[in-house]
Every structure is written in C-alpha cells, then in structure tokens.
Subunit: 450 residues, 2 copies
C-alpha cells in the first residue's frame, strides 16, 4: 500500500522550486519567475532552489546567458545529446520538405515503423504513434480495457505513468490530491535487496493478491503496467529477471502486461534496446516516449498484432500530430545515432564507470545507503545513518549543491531520497570525472553544514 | 439524443479507405497499403477510395512522387501554408540552438505565452501547453472536474473532442463501439436554419434539461464543451451569437464553459482570432491545437486564472514535450505569419469568394441543400432532392471525384453528408477558381452517373 505520509510530501514535486521563496532570488531571475507565475500560473513548476535558465545547448552541456556551461546529468529526452547535428539536419530537411499526418501515405512513416518494430521480438509487430508518453499510456489502457472487457489496473506504490485523466488515475506519485481511479490497486515495488527469485516471487504474489481483491470487488484485471527501472519508486533495475514470474501472474489473472519503456527504452540501460529485454520477458503492449525523437514530440505504443486486431476494426484512433513527418524524421535519425555511435555500449561502459566513480566519491559518507542502476540510469539512495530512515532532505541538498556547481540531476522515490542521475547517452569518462568532482564537493559541503 | 443508426455508419470513418478493397488499387499503392496494414495495424485509416501518397508540399499544394500537384482544400494544420519558409526557419534555428522542457526557464516560452494570452480577453490570462488538442481537452476536463467537484459533461450529438480515454468518452462521433462515459449527456446541436435568438434559446434549453436530468441521476455538471463551428455536427457557424444564452445556462447549472478552439482558432473564421469571439462570449477555459504550430506538435489550454489557482497548487502537471522550445518557436512564427500576411482578412475575403464560387458551381444541382461557413471553413450539405434525407453517399462521391481531380477535401456530420472544405489560410482567388472548376467537373460527373 502507498505510504500516505510520504505521498503527501511529494504532492509538491521533488526538487520543485517553491514560489514562496521568490524574494530570495536574484533580481533578474525573480522577475523571470514572476512573469511565469503571471502567465503560466501555479501549475508550472521550475526545478531547484535557484532555478536555471538556458539559452543554448550542445552535447551534454546546457549554457546560460552568461555563457556558463552546465553538465547535463539528468535529461533523458535529448538522449543522443542536445542539438545533435544528425537529428537537427533531419528535422531541418523534413520541415522544409513535407509534414503530413498519417491519413496520407508516406514512405518515411512506413520505413520508420518497420525499422522500429524490428527492434522488438517478432511477437510485437504493430506500432501506433502518439505525441507523448502520456498519450501512449492512455492508448494502451484503452486497448487493454477493450481487449479484456475489464477495467482494473495494478501499478506500484509510487508509480508515475502520465498526466491524461486516465494516466493520472494510475499515477500515485502525483500525490493525494490527484485521485487514483476506483479500479486501481497499488502494490509495493520489488525489493532491490532481495535476490531475483525472492524479489520476483514476492512481487508476483502481491500482484495476484491485488487482482483477487479487485475481483472480489467486482472489477476484472485489465492490466498491470510498470516501467522496468521502477524510476519513481526509487530506481530498481536489479536483480534483472524479477519480472518473469510477474508477467505469468498478470496473465493468470486475465490481465495484459504493459511495459512502460518511456524511461528504460532506446538503449538507456546499456544492455538492450528495451528494458523488458533485461528481464527476459515479452510484454503484450509496450509504450515508449521521451528519448524517441531526441526532444521532438513523438511517442508510441507497440503491440502484439492480435491484441490490436479487434480494437483497430471497431475503434477509430487518429492522432493528428502522432507520426507527423518531422517527428518521424527526427526519430529515425535517433535510431541512426544510437547505432552509429554505439550508444548502448557507451551507456553500459560509462554507466559502470559512473557508479564506480560515485562509490569512490561516496566512500566514508554514512548517509549513502546504496548506489544502483543500469547503464546511464543511476540511483543513489540516502538514509539516515542512525535510524535508517529515508533521507529526502539530504538527497535534495545534494541536488541543489550540484546545481550550484553547474551539474544537473534530480531526485526520486516516494521519499525523494534517491538521486536520479540520467544523462544524455553520449556521456564520456571525462564527464564522469567532472560529475564525481562536483559530487565530492557537494558531499563535503553537506558534511560541513551538518 | 444521438442518432444511433447514423453513428453506426460512422464507426468506420467518413472518407476512410476500406482495406477490403485493397485489390482494386494499382500495384504500387497496393503494396504500400499492405505494408501499412502489416506494421501499423488496422487502427490506421487512409483517406479516399484511392489513397494518396506525398513526397513534398509547399503553400497550398501537396506533390506525389510523379510530381503531380494536389490542391489542398482540407488541411487546417499547415494553416499558414505547407513548409512556410518563416516557420521552417524558426524550427531550423531553434532545433540547432536549444530544446528544453518547461522546468528550466527560457525567455522564448515566456514571450510566446505572453503574446498568446494577449490575443484573449483580459479575463483569460493563464496558459498551459500540451502537445495535442486531445491532451488539452483532457486537461480542461481535469481542471473543470477539479474546480466543480462534479463529473458530468454535456456535448453535442456528434461531437468530437479527442482520443484520450477521457476525451473519447465525450466524443460520440467515434461511433458506438467507443463508449460514452456514464457521466456524459449529448444534446442536439444548434439548428442552422433557425435565427440567432431561436437557435440559442433552444440550444440553451436542451443543455439546461440535460444538466437537470444529470443531477437527478446524482451527477453534477462539470462542463459543457463545444467547438463554435460545430465541425463534426455538420459545420454550424451561423447565426453567430447563439452561444450567448448557452454560456449562461451552463453557468446557471454550475458548470464550466469550455471553448474547443482546435478547429475555429487562430484566425480560421476570418472574423476574429478565436471562434468564441464571433459569439460575443468569454469562456472559462479554452483549448487549442491543430494550427498552432503549423504542424509542429503544440496545443494548449488558456484559462481564467482563478480557475487554475487551486488546481495549480494541488496538482502537479508536467507535460515533457508540452511547450518544448522547437514547438514554441514554430508557434511564435505562426503568429508572425498570421499578422504579417493578414491571414484573418484573407480568410474572410477568400472564404466569401469560395462560398460564392461553390454556389455558382452548384447552381441547378438539386442535391445541394445548403452552403455555409465562416472564413475558410466551409460546409456544403447534400440531401436527397426527393426525400430531403441527408445524402452521405453523394458527398462521399464528390470527395472522391475531387480527389481524382487532385483537389483534397473530406466530409463531416453525423451522416457524412456535408463537404468539409478547410484549406490552409493563404488560399487565393486563383485557388478558388481551381477548386470551383474541379467541383463543377465532379458534380457533372456525378450527375451523369446517376
């Protein structure tokens, strides 16, 4: 069950700027923030105690108006690097040539769809395009509910799957004011400290139990959905393989297994193109998004063809901008770069180096309980050395110390106590060194302050 | 109440290609369609009996691989013209410079937000960005339901508002297999043959009645949502002003009035930037999309600030690609072009010329019951001359005859009997002549066939 107290603390976003502190900002930023509040309203949040403001970006660096470079160790959307020339060229060429929707034929769309589905197991042979991961999740829910004629959905305690009405209803991490759907059940995420067999069996048992309880309340199970990195639950990539008994439990309860690949997809984990492949499973539906077009809005849902057959016959689905030519050109260029620059291999090698460097920097720091990750998706868990309690404050302080050193990360988990380190994939050993230096400085500064 | 029989006939989309006729296509197109069915699955529909396939576009023309030019009298997404150089330049420049989300500050985002809200009445001073009109509608529903603590929504009989779960539930035009939400009521659209007073009062009475009925069933009214052109209900722009009693009726029932400006917005109607302005009302929430970025995915919701205040405090809303720098740069360039090329004025003048030219071409054609529109959004209604029954087949034949003459339009309405003519805004008198010639030929061909 979700921890209500911790969820309440995340109703305001982890690492969100508090507009109540606007008077502490320097004049120029204060004015910028005031203008934002005026026109964008309170639903828009900035990152950091001292928000950042950028004018250009390149590779793994963002630059402010004064020309200061910020090392980007956070953004997985510009996954092949900010303003990658090959992607920029594809966008530029396509924008000047043709941009149409999917009700007219284009070779571009077909070729990309074929190329994308070729990265999946043969069972997953259909793809549909949306603009955002939220839309892809929402579509997957529609398909799962249509196919099963059931409405129940199981998610993890602090899951996040998007912001449409239906996606927000399965996203407990949005906090207690964003209500979960009455057909939604939450289960605790896998325990990263158990072995694969234990973690998998225990997680599968929780899902079976939730499905049974749901049925007793008259609701059938439509789907279980999870991101195989369990990002918002605190980054739980290991022990890989723990999803194997889970998919069986979901199928046994009549549900559909939806792999949310918005976070792990597109070679992020360094071991495979898709996160579910690390677990040795083949999902029924796959949703993808963020890194797909390196920042151009494109997302999608891949599916077993048999799951889409009746839905496609009976339900009209047209997403005006979904699969538009410019976004598809960008997405195709992203696949080129992942291959050409061997970014999966880089993610694995540099991810390992990054975790090692963090471990070295953190040596002798009793507040760090765990360092874990897969490829360039790394979590660093903070806990109080005396009580063992999650220490979200320490993590947040590090996030802000790093920001003062012009290194960008954020934090995650139900208690916000896990550093979320997720740089663009062309991160290098040099960037790891820069990151580790900044982390050492931040940890030292925090220790002094205590 | 929706006409179930007619809705069943639109479960398959008006003007959708029927894959059952694939063997009638020429070999190259047959192969293209077969590849699409293989990888995109059956949910993807092409337009026309003989689908079209394009390789480039410019202004109001699309070109196939053989170099044939098709006059675009349909697409409102490339609203300032396909591949407009000013928009292409903005995309190109921004893609090479910076593309970030809204949790970092950029002047670009603020300046565009301020410029956009300046086009609204002063009461509507906040804006939030999404990627698609569906997401904007979905967000508006979340805000309306949060603000009213009610869930009921009223829409017109053949409304279309999007494809997310929540948007599809208020979109009867998706057909009977896409279920309406249990808290959704439909009302007949305004009657274009009544005068403003009659049409408005009768429409308002239907809404009040639906709200009362809803309350008797225990559901409060959250919102009434309508596109002021009533596009999918058959294009009902006149008599402008009929929405005045409607907004009062919605407020009296405790609901929020959501103006869906995805179709009429951005100067389409030739009379004002926004469709609701033609009616002399100020909505509570406004959703916008399609033409906003001339094909770059960007959409949004504008709001009375007081409606967003509590929602923004309590609910975190972050749309990764919503308001991304490239889409915002494109959207800003679109506003430039609308101003610089006086596209509202052009839409009004050319829209009038187009309706006149259609009337002239249609003279002596008993199957055409009405020609109506606002600016470059024109509907031509077909009815059986003997029975007066809506004649969707005649409209569809014209759509396909025009396509054979390389002129692109489609059809709309619950019976698919209304031609939907909605070209990019830089349409000129020359294009009107070309359109009218093709229409004359198509009508003659249809008359011969009968």
């Amino acid at each position: 069950m979700p921890d209500q107290a911790s969820m309440a603390s995340t109703a305001y976003m982890v690492n969100g700027f508090d507009p109540g502190t606007i008077d502490d900002l320097e004049p120029e930023m204060r004015q910028h923030v005031a203008r934002r509040l005026q026109v964008l309203g309170p639903a828009y949040k900035l990152f950091y105690r001292h928000p950042v403001r950028f004018v250009r970006a390149e590779g793994v660096y963002l630059y402010d108006a004064a020309g200061n470079a910020y090392l980007d160790a956070y953004n997985n959307v510009p996954s092949v690097g900010h303003c990658h020339p090959h992607v920029v060229e594809a966008i530029t060429r396509q924008a000047a040539t043709l941009n149409v929707h999917t009700r007219y034929g284009t070779d571009l769309l077909l070729e990309y769809a074929e190329r994308l589905t070729a990265t999946f197991p043969a069972e997953i042979s259909n793809v549909m395009f949306t603009c955002t991961g939220s839309e892809a999740v929402d579509l997957a829910l529609r398909v799962a509910r249509f196919a099963t004629r059931a409405s129940g959905v199981i998610v993890t305690s602090n899951a996040y799957h998007g912001v449409t009405t239906a996606a927000a209803e399965i996203s407990p991490s949005l906090g207690p004011e964003a209500p979960l759907g009455s057909q939604v059940r939450t289960v605790a995420p896998p325990d990263p400290r158990q072995d694969r067999e234990q973690a998998g069996q225990a997680f599968a048992a929780r899902i079976s139990h939730a499905a049974t309880d749901m049925k007793r309340h008259g609701t059938g199970l439509a789907a279980f959905i999870a991101d195989s990195l369990f990002s918002t639950d605190g980054i739980i990539p290991e022990p890989a393989g723990f999803l194997r008994p889970v998919i069986d439990a979901v199928h046994a309860a009549g549900g559909i297994f939806i792999a949310d690949e918005v976070q792990p997809g597109f070679a992020r984990t360094g071991e495979s193109m898709w996160g579910f492949q690390r677990h040795g499973i083949i999902p029924d539906l796959v949703v993808m998004g963020k890194p797909m077009g390196n920042g151009m809005p494109i997302a999608g849902m891949a599916a077993r063809a048999e799951l889409l057959a009746e839905f496609g016959q009976k339900i009209r689905y047209f997403n005006t901008f979904g699969g538009n030519s410019i976004s598809v050109a960008a997405a195709s260029a992203v696949l080129d770069v992942i291959e050409d620059e061997k970014l999966a291999e880089n993610s694995r090698a540099i991810g390992t180096a990054l975790r090692d460097a963090i471990a070295e920097a953190a040596a002798g720091c009793p507040g760090i309980r765990d360092i874990r990750g897969a490829g360039l998706y790394v979590g660093v868990e903070f806990a109080d050395p005396q009580t063992g309690e999650p220490d979200g404050k320490a993590a947040l302080n590090i996030v802000n110390e790093l920001r003062e050193r012009r290194v960008l990360i954020s934090a995650t988990g139900a208690h916000g106590n896990i550093l979320k380190i997720r740089p663009p994939l062309p991160f290098s050993y040099r960037h790891v060194d820069q990151f580790a230096d900044a982390l050492r400085g931040s940890l030292a500064s925090l220790a002094t302050r205590k």
